[in-house]
Amino acid sequence: MAGGRSSELRQFWRMFSRNQLAVAGAVVVGLLVILAALAPALAPWDPSKLDTKRILHPPSKSHWLGTDQLGRDVLSRVLYGSRISLAVGFVSVGIATVIGVLLGSAAGYHGGAVDNIIMRMVDLMLVFPRFFLLLAVLALLKPSIWTIMAIIGLTGWMGVARLVRAEFLTLREREFVIWSESIGAGTLRVVFRHILPNALAPVLVAMTLGIPAAILTESGLSFLGLGVQPPYATWGNILNDGKDVLEIAWWMTLYPGLAILITVLSYNLVGEGIRDALDPRLRQARLGRVIRIGR
């Protein structure tokens, strides 16, 4: 299989690199990760440093993106905010993926009652308007970056579970799976060594598309004041501060929102690019897109 895999990779890369938009998206994603990692070195000011002499200053040479109500530098806050957004995106998608893969493979491999129960759970979770569910949980828990990551992950695994189940349903009938079962390989070995690696492509797409969705959700919650709390700067809570002074300080609204837009757009381009490069095997990943509509 090894040779097949590396040639598959080469084939994938050839398809992916032909898609200019996806490549551009990948470059921006890379840049954003670097910016987030280097934020402490790059930020011109301390993001929580108050300056009463510079309250709500418009963009200038010393403060490229202006200052907020407390005289804090908006550029530095947006830079630091990117760390929170990326962290929330990656961790919550990680949580969702682990849950989705475990439940999806259990459902797809076992079939029968297990499958039925798990898929009804998926149906149930999908009936809840996600924002209402998130808010209900937040009424009880103190919102912190960890709670936010956890609840976004715990309410976002259903798409992955469905994809993985669908892959398993077809893969478990394939010869190489039946052979390895017939020579006595244990269930865990069959699932994790033989089936799962072959089912990972759509999961990768779902993950790439899940990160921007999680970032949007987090910034929405923070915007409502129920997400990551000050003193942490996040794009959502900068916008929340900015909404009160929208009429006099447009820069506090324009720039953090642009940061969200650019980030989400580039991840989506990369995700769609990966999917198109893996097509036609991946036609069913469209289901992931369906679930993503309207976040």
Partner: protein, 330 residues
Amino acid sequence: MLLFALRRLLLAIPLLIGITFVSFLVISLAPGGPLDFLTPEDPNASAEVKQKLIQEFGLDQPLHVQYGRWLARVVRLDFGRTFLPDGKPVLVKIRERLPITLLLNVIEMLIILGLAVPIGVLSATRQYSLYDKITTIFVFVGFATPDFWLALLLMFLFGVQLGWLPISGLRSLNWEYLPFWKQQWDVVGHLILPLAVATFGGLAGFSRYMRQSMLEVIRQDYIQTARAKGLPEPTVVGKHALRNALLPVVTILGLSLPSLIGGSVIIETIFAIPGMGQLMVQSVFSRDYPVVMGNLVIVSALTLVANLIADIAYGLVDPRIRLGGRRRRR
């Protein structure tokens, strides 16, 4: 057909029970229960309030007993009373606000469908044309634009800078004194910005999906046949292809309802529209648990009903579904 509808209905019942179970679980999973939150920080949490809470939730009982009791009341649509000073029953509060959210979402959905279908069909029939490329860009940007940010920008532009449109509430302060037609116009004006924002994100998704669905149908043999027998292209596209391409979109509409309704949280909060979403946010801030739970149950149950209607509608328009028993999802 009746049998099909009945089967769908039966399948929805366990989901409905599931909704109440999850909603109940959410509240009881809080470390220390809901009491823990009121007591240390909230100065209003007098012994009286605490007592009321213990009674309200029967917190001294084991969990399954609590759930049973709560469920028995919820079945009669009794969600208790709000913790707020006015002490209204939760159901009354919800009844005040539900029509507004429903109205907004229905209008939103009609606009989305009305625009997404032609946009999607046109980009599919002119795949890779300039028009197709522009709509594709629009779709990607639409997906990536945070709705609350778009709302703020539009408020700034049309409300503050240009002063064309009102930016908050559903009516002007002097609404009562306006003549009848001006009153209607006033409400419409208040709805324009919220609806524009609400429609934007969903429109991107649906027009994309419509395009995809149309592209698939156009490749089918029966479309070739229709062309081959000399039907004019508008008939082929508008009649033969569109009808079939619309089918999966009905399902998608049902599936994406939860997220459309969820979107009303942010929109209602920003534009100060007194609907379910705004009620939810307010109750979360004031930790008004009975309202939070009631809200969650009602909104999800309504979503379930809407899903059911979409399901049955799909069966109605596509006999394969109700006869085959299995639903074609993609």
